[in-house]
């Protein structure tokens, strides 16, 4: 009980004593002299501590409506009508003197005639009953003054007045209201008989610390299990977090980061990679083309030779000059190779970047992806090293079971498709391509033919799997709630 008393908030302390007498919210508010919000908060806390129960009932309450509000101050229109009839008047005169509008005038005539309070003629005059009526407070007036009333508690007399008033235009309205009443639990009943210690310290203040006034006093106990209002941290986008993780894998293995443009010439995206000029991937439906051209580098001569010698067709420089949005980061590898000098060897590079395919967008298709790319250039590199690097990378990504299958890319030989075992789906899933660059790629770009191990993987699938997202569009949706609530990328490399 002591602990409980020490944990009471000042608002709770203020509200609790009023509960000895008051049971409904309105009277508690009046008695405590707190605002409704404060009282509600206090009651909520007390309920959480099992001190009381808040019961809610719904009630139909009769209140003044628009016209009712006016008439309660200025009087009902029929009274005004009668008041001006000191002598018989025409309708127009009455309307003017009593300041009534047309609607009011008509309804007054109806009411007054029915109860025989006026006499109609060329001019209208007041009857004796009318004069009496003017002096008395009518049931309707009494009813309006006593509002608000609870509908279920009306007397028989009030009931009939209510029906009359309901017929009249916008005098009254009924509204359904929540009525909160408080019921103390056995614990609460015990608590209100206790003396509520008031000498507890609240917030630790600087003056309290300076004056040491906290000495020999107790602090109010806090409800440390309660729910707190949410706050949101600043955060990197979850795609960016996963990119940083993947970059770190390659950096840890001694790779250097390479970069290249998104807007690329077909030369670097296709020709330098030995993709023949009539290859389906170069058609409009797969690749985004941009107006304009870009001049060919010197190495184009060697690339042309390689195409013409092996593919046996006439290589067209104009097709190579076309501008495309790069369809794979292998274009970056091609550029990197072309810039390497013999003295730079051996070398290992990686890149993580955006690539584009001309596709419509739906839950499993997009036109913009993130790709991971890597190359190893070393005279002694071989196929087993390629498989070794791939195994290490996928293991760090969390895939213990992977397998390598023969595949085909125009620019690699051997070509490998990597499949990873998805534990949730219990199936093998395509995860990326790899291989050793063909001599027709390496020789023109590097000048010598030495093994270049190469690989490229779409990252988006792994990102979706990690975050439990089903829809590819979510990666670019920028739903701030999703970004705020998303767990952080945390994978511990083994």
């Amino acid at each position: 009980m002591d602990k409980l008393i020490q944990s009471l908030h000042p608002l709770e302390r203020t509200v609790l004593p009023t509960l000895k007498i008051h049971k409904d919210l309105d009277s508690i508010i009046k008695a405590s002299k707190l605002s409704e919000v404060e009282v509600m908060r206090a009651l909520q806390w007390l309920e959480n501590k099992n001190i009381l129960k808040i019961n809610q009932t719904l009630k139909e309450i009769i209140e003044l409506d628009k016209h009712g509000e006016i008439y309660i101050k200025k009087g009902l229109p029929e009274k005004h009508f009668l008041k001006v009839l000191e002598k018989p008047l025409t309708l127009n005169e009455i309307q003017e003197k009593a300041k009534l509008d047309k609607d009011e005038l008509n309804s007054c005539i109806g009411i007054l005639k029915r109860d025989n309070l006026i006499k109609l003629g060329k001019k209208i005059s007041i009857t004796k009953e009318g004069k009496d009526y003017l002096k008395t407070e009518t049931n309707q007036e009494k009813f309006l003054k006593s509002l608000p009333l609870e509908k279920s508690k009306l007397t028989k007399e009030q009931e009939s007045t209510y029906k009359e008033l309901k017929q009249r235009k916008q005098l009254i309205q009924t509204e359904i209201k929540k009525l909160r009443t408080i019921e103390l639990t056995p614990l609460g009943k015990k608590l209100i008989t206790q003396k509520l210690e008031t000498d507890l310290l609240e917030t630790i203040t600087t003056s309290m610390l300076k004056t040491k006034s906290w000495k020999n006093k107790k602090f109010r106990r806090f409800d440390i299990k309660g729910v707190v209002p949410k706050i949101y941290p600043g955060k990197k986008h979850f795609v960016q977090q996963s990119i940083e993780y993947i970059k770190k894998i390659w950096l840890d293995m001694g790779f250097k980061e390479m970069q290249g443009p998104l807007l690329e010439s077909a030369f670097w995206n296709f020709d330098a990679l030995f993709v023949p000029q009539d290859h389906p991937a170069r058609e409009m439906q797969d690749t985004f083309f941009i107006k304009g051209t870009r001049e060919l580098p010197d190495k184009a001569k060697e690339v042309k030779q390689a195409h013409e010698n092996s593919w046996k067709y006439k290589w067209n420089p104009e097709l190579a000059k076309k501008l495309v949005l790069r369809t794979h980061t292998t274009a970056v590898s091609a550029r990197t190779l072309a810039n390497l000098k013999k003295s730079d060897l051996p070398a290992k590079f990686f890149s993580v970047g955006k690539v584009f395919r001309n596709e419509a967008v739906d839950w499993k298709h997009s036109f913009e992806f993130t790709q991971v790319e890597g190359i190893v250039i070393d005279p002694n590199a071989n196929f087993q090293h390629l498989l070794g690097f791939l195994r290490a990378y996928y293991k760090k990504l969390g895939f213990d079971r992977i397998k390598f299958l023969p595949a085909y890319f125009p620019y690699t030989e051997m070509s490998v498709e990597v499949r990873v075992y998805n534990k949730e789906k219990k199936q093998w899933v395509e995860a990326g391509g790899a291989g050793i660059f063909r001599p027709e790629v390496v020789k023109p770009l590097l000048g010598i033919d030495i093994p270049v191990l190469a690989w490229g993987q779409g990252m988006d699938r792994s990102i979706l799997d990690y975050y439990g997202i089903k829809d590819l569009r979510d990666l670019h949706k920028n739903d701030l709630k999703q970004i705020r609530d998303m767990k952080v990328w945390l994978k511990c490399q083994q």
């Binding site: 600043g234 009539d278 001309n358 071989n382 196929f383 498989l387 070794g388």
Partner: protein, 531 residues
């Protein structure tokens, strides 16, 4: 990639061995094809485009029986000489110059064989033939044709009865009305006359690459075939014929030459043992290499490899090395991390971008991730005309230009998040396009009831302090911002961006009822000024 459907029983019959499903699937995949599905009747297989010889049941069975060592080694196909001839009219030179043909005799055309031939023809069209442009194949009942033939052209008013039609149509009618004509009309649209095969009786065989004639149609009673192949590349059409005749010979048919073709002459290539071993990291001896290549249907004598005519993918010694690797089995290679000592290095610009993101998240800002592509309509909402690089062939009008700046992306994000909690303070770092120049940019937007110029300038100020850089702000007019509350940001006298309060007009374009203050800067310029 092309997918073919293979009758499983027929494949097992051709391989001559009953293989359990899992082993069959594994062997097909380790040979370099992808099994999409398999049930009792059918196997659906994806074939890589470099291996058109595997686009038929017969070709697949041939490769598989060698690969599982049932029938390794080079297969000889007998080619019979003949007097079958055709003339080539020089008029075809401009239109579809490449041509090759062959005759097949004693073929038994049961339903399954017919389906397999048609599938092979169709898949060669889509892959090797680049949708009939580069190569197209026609198959005819030999016994309806009188040699010699002529490969010529005819004007568009010329008539014949196309396949599956009961009356004659003109060539232009075929292109307009026949389903195949409509599909492939674009291949002939630039020409006044179209290619036609005629026999000695002036009977039309076909109109390549569109449609055959009804009269020369292959039926279940057909015993002998004439096969033609036309296109743009002589080597490619000859390869297609080689692949088809070998597949049919595997069914027991006999191959006859037309114009002294095909010869099925095999390619010979020298293989350097050390080269192969070095690339594969293996220590194979001569006889092991010989055995491995025989499993791929090749013949090895000393260091000379004989390659079957249907293997169109072998261009270089390296292609033989890959065949050795596949034959050896990718699953049997050791996986080794080599000792190649290199020093890791992150790209300096990427480091810079990462640092900036870290500073900004420290202010409690959220990073967003928009597409690089946007639309002109979206850019116009900023009330500020900026040229944007257009995509020539967009598949979606919502994404038809490359973004020239980032703030429109952030505004769109704020528009999409109106129902979420405020304040919404966000930033994005990404590539923008100034014509064809790529620029890394940073944009920051603060959106809440209380935001204003001071709030956004505090972020800018603090960012520059962290970077140890000085900057200046100068007044400027900019239609996206409130007049008098917008400035250009200068570093060492050079403009690197804008800062300001977004104009109410722009806010209403994005249906926002909350103020936004923001800045956008060029990170490439900024990085140049570091140090």
């Amino acid at each position: 990639m092309p997918t073919i459907n293979i009758n499983k029983q027929s494949l097992l019959h051709l391989t001559g061995k009953k293989l359990p499903d899992d082993i069959l699937k594994d062997r097909i995949e380790m040979l370099g094809l992808s099994v999409e599905s398999m049930d009792e009747k059918e196997i659906e297989i994806e074939v890589y485009p470099n291996r058109p010889d595997l686009l038929s049941e017969e070709g697949l069975a041939r490769a598989l029986t060698s690969f599982i060592n049932l029938k390794p080694g080079f297969r000889k196909y007998k080619v019979n000489k003949s007097d079958y001839k055709y003339k080539i009219d020089s008029k075809v030179k401009e239109i579809r110059p490449a041509v090759a043909a062959a005759v097949i005799k004693k073929i038994t055309l049961d339903e399954n064989t017919l389906i397999s031939i048609m599938q092979l023809q169709e898949k060669i069209h889509t892959t090797h033939g680049r949708n009939r442009r580069k190569v197209s194949v026609g198959v005819y009942d030999l016994d309806t044709i009188k040699f010699p033939l002529t490969y010529t052209t005819k004007p568009t008013s010329f008539k014949f009865t196309p396949l599956e039609m009961s009356k004659q149509l003109t060539l232009s009618q075929i292109l307009q009305h026949h389903p195949k004509g409509k599909d492939y009309a674009h291949l002939l649209k630039d020409f006044k006359e179209y290619p036609i095969w005629l026999d000695d009786n002036n009977q039309v065989l076909s109109m390549p690459p569109i449609i055959n004639s009804e009269e020369t149609k292959v039926t279940d009673r057909t015993k002998n075939l004439f096969i033609d192949c036309t296109g743009l590349d002589q080597r490619a059409v000859e390869q297609a014929i080689n692949i088809i005749v070998c597949a049919l010979a595997d069914r027991g048919a006999e191959i006859y030459q037309v114009n002294n073709f095909p010869t099925l002459e095999s390619q010979k290539m020298k293989l350097n043992l050390d080269y192969a071993n070095k690339l594969l990291g293996l220590k194979l001896n001569k006889s092991e290499i010989k055995e491995l290549l025989e499993k791929m249907g090749m013949e090895v004598k000393e260091d000379i490899v004989t390659i079957p005519a249907y293997r169109t993918d072998i261009m270089h010694e390296i292609d033989l090395v890959e065949d050795i690797a596949i034959s050896y089995g990718y699953e049997n290679f050791e996986e080794i991390i080599p000792n190649i000592a290199t020093i890791a290095q992150e790209d300096p610009k990427e480091v810079f971008k990462r640092k900036i993101a870290e500073i900004l998240t420290g202010f409690g800002l959220l990073e967003t991730n928009s597409f690089t592509l946007t639309s002109k309509d979206e850019l116009n909402k900023m009330e500020n005309k900026v040229e944007a690089l257009e995509i020539e062939n967009p598949s979606n009008e919502e994404y038809n230009v490359l973004r020239p700046w980032l703030l429109p992306c952030l505004m769109k994000t704020l528009q999409l998040n109106k129902h979420h909690e405020y304040p919404q303070n966000i930033f994005e770092i990404g590539t923008c396009f100034d014509n064809k120049k790529e620029i890394a940019k940073l944009a920051v937007s603060l959106c809440s009831e209380k935001t204003d110029f001071t709030a956004i300038k505090q972020i800018l100020d603090s960012l520059f302090k962290s970077l140890d850089l000085d900057y200046k702000i100068e007044e400027v007019n900019h239609a996206s911002f409130v007049n008098g509350r917008v400035g250009k940001i200068l570093v060492k006298g050079k403009k690197i961006g804008y800062i300001g309060e977004t104009s109410p007009k722009v806010l209403s374009n994005y249906d926002l009822t909350m103020p936004v203050s923001c800045f956008e800067i060029d990170l490439d310029e900024l990085l140049c000024n570091m140090n």
